[in-house]
Symmetry: D2
Subunit: 261 residues, 4 copies
């Protein structure tokens, strides 16, 4: 079987990351620069570093109440090591847990490049979405009805440091057009904002979930460490208070089975 890669070359004893001697990079670049280099193959500009730092910080942990942390803590509670718990956390990042970021990147990348008239394209997309009952990933929020402060913060930052490009602009047009056409505001949410900015950085939407994973990993590690060090093993729901059994009530075995030898 062939194993082909363009990421890292091991030659004798030396490790070359995207062509650069890894040892020479140590002490010279930040982790964020190393991440960008690993994913894109080139060094980021200072602006890109600042932008990525903001993005990763915004998603580094959102608390214990989400499915990934529940899964992680239960896996550790069964008697597993830290890395197994963290893996279960990453596993949980399916379509509904970080998935909006990926979907929004896809949407913006497929549509923002269709024509030079972004506003017109936005209008077209919103009309199509309404007609086909298609969900627009990156828009709408459970609480925020006027604007999402995390999205605003990231977009403001992108503008401030000169990193506001076609995809983010298109995302804002979409927000406007949704309001105009539906008469109801669906705010650009934090997933949508990150999607716009990372798309403007030239990242492929298929690596979108990767941003979420990289940014959230420290949170998962911290939760795994807490579970390992603060809790007793084998968490168990209280059958009486927390479980709702809706199945067949206790019944007799059929005679033909009861009579089996």
């Amino acid at each position: 079987m062939e194993w082909k890669t363009a990421i890292t070359l091991n030659k004798g004893n030396e490790i070359y990351l995207r062509g650069y001697n890894l040892l020479e990079l140590v002490g010279k670049i930040s982790f964020t620069e190393a991440i960008y280099l690993t994913l894109k193959g080139e060094f980021p500009s200072e602006k890109e570093v600042k932008m990525l730092d903001a993005i990763f910080t915004s998603i580094v942990d959102h608390g214990i109440a989400v499915p990934s942390v529940m899964a992680l803590r239960n896996v550790i509670s069964g008697g597993n090591k830290l890395h197994v718990g963290v893996a279960a956390g990453v596993l949980t990042f399916g379509d509904y847990h970080g998935g909006a970021l990926e979907d929004a990147m896809r949407l913006l990348q497929e549509w923002a490049n269709k024509s030079d008239n972004l506003r017109e394209t936005a209008k077209e997309l919103v009309e199509k979405a309404i007609k086909e009952k298609m969900l627009l990933a990156g828009f709408g929020h459970r609480y925020y009805k006027d604007f999402d402060p995390r999205a605003k913060r990231l977009i403001d930052l992108a503008k401030e440091i000169g990193f506001f490009g076609k995809h983010s602009e298109f995302a804002l047009y979409l927000e406007e057009e949704i309001y105009k056409i539906k008469g109801k505001k669906l705010v650009l949410n934090v997933d949508g904002a990150i999607a716009g900015i990372t798309s403007d950085m030239g990242f492929d939407w298929r690596v979108g979930k990767g941003f979420f994973i990289i940014g959230r990993i420290p949170g998962l590690v911290a939760h795994a460490f807490e579970e390992l060090t603060m809790e007793k093993p084998f968490r168990r729901l209280d059958e009486d208070k927390e479980v709702n059994y809706i199945g067949e009530p206790p019944r007799e075995l059929p005679e033909y089975i009861k009579n089996r030898k």
Copy 2:
């Protein structure tokens, strides 16, 4: 890299499982026979099939309240497919979730073969365990203080069908010696009983967790199917009622960070 195996041979178009043409086996053997053949390389006797059927049935599902099912359901709740959820369930089977079976097999296999005088060896082991504060896997139960009915059922069955050998016998001596020496009963539990019986079948303790996995997989699949078809995605703890935040209360950013550009 070399990939060495003694399980299955693919030759042209034919698949040979442990030397037998897989196609010829189809329709001739039960799944339990196929499992035994896969693990041991030979066909089981009727007795062994009956014993394995009983063992697998006894562990096929124990309800929603355990960590493996919690992990599984949260993973699916994040927007994942059935197999990803089931994998998370299997992942949860660490040292405290099915681990006692493996540990008990190891214990019985290491000690039951030390001498012909099983009772004497049992005494020696119990004394050593007390002295070294070593846990005897397979003994003790949260509720059952007199006997564990599931263990008794399996041991009775093993005796009835003529499958009661040295390891199970040794396990019963252990139970007796614990009572004599500690003056307190620690019942042979279901893990200990399965450990005795599978050891008498000649299974290596290192495949012990495998019995638990094989037996419990149908339960995991059933829970994954329920979660996929009966529940909405993204389960979330109620922050007010279910989460106990014990960390630092809200505080101001240090000035040097607040003032950063």
Copy 3:
């Protein structure tokens, strides 16, 4: 959060599986019956047991060369326990590894119930598939161009034991119509045959991957045991012979990074 289930009730000390006292089932039913009961909520007939035994046997292991076993062995090679390796194997069962079974079940269940004229519906589906370049899951095989012997064996068995129903019949019509319309034979493969039979048993297509997992688990356990007991840890590709580096050749650090303090 509410945890709702219809599978197992824990009441005091007793476990009820689909309403039946688990302890009473032990020693009375086969593992295959326990699997069916867990998944469907009722006992299977003898015919159904025979059919399921054949299906599970047909997929119990297909050798070391597949992605699930590669993943499993590498995970164990990193220094993990048996259950972690098996979980990685299950994880690998994505869209291309056992996925055809699920897709074929879905296809047959969506189409076989459209009208009483199965042949007509089959014709309609094949025409649609050709027109829309839709793949028909369950048809076609790398080697077998005339018929797939595993599929034939299972279908013959289904007919023999009186378990040949609408979905399997529809699958055979599809095979015929593909030949008629495309002028080229795409054989009903083993996934398609299992899909037909399990659909005739009344299983929902969304549990389809579950059959694959249950049937293949013993193979995964056996491979994990081999890796643990026969191999040294930390498998590593031979960089010179097995890796093809296609990336940037070694290059100098840019001056501005080299000069950083």
Copy 4:
């Protein structure tokens, strides 16, 4: 069940990470600072940031040939999404894949605090290790017999930026004592160096694997992206060239099975 945490507080709409409003942190701190804050609960000094950046960079990717990347690529090859592959990569980080870092942290933390005479304690530990055939995690390297350049680079950096403390010092004494007592050099390797430095930063050894996971995640994401975008699904070993079947040769079914109906 109680869910207790000190990491993040969700209050109304606000997210507080270790007491700080997450939104206020966005744009003000680097990802490395966010990681440290998440794990330790306080902001790092500039020195600690520089040190962590160097550590994470040194492990960000080591190429395609390791078990974690093999597992990851096979899992994706079975038809899975990016996050499932990355999870399989993390899963592979068992005792032999990043485990030395954790073990070395534990060793240094258990021994460096025993007395003020570090050299004497080092001597004592080395003698004990030789006597008890105990492996000293963090020492020894396949190629490097004189010194490990990555370890040297990190230790030099720690000295340079004033981050060289008791644990790193103890690690260097260990290296010396091994040479004196065994007469053979076992170099302080990169795991040992990172262990010394992170211990000097006050990180608990039980979070040690977490450093490895956080640092290597970008590499895993990059490999997952490559596999998804550059390769066809379902990798398969070449049965003739890559598989060595060492099992039972093809054989006939026993008569009693062949004759079953």
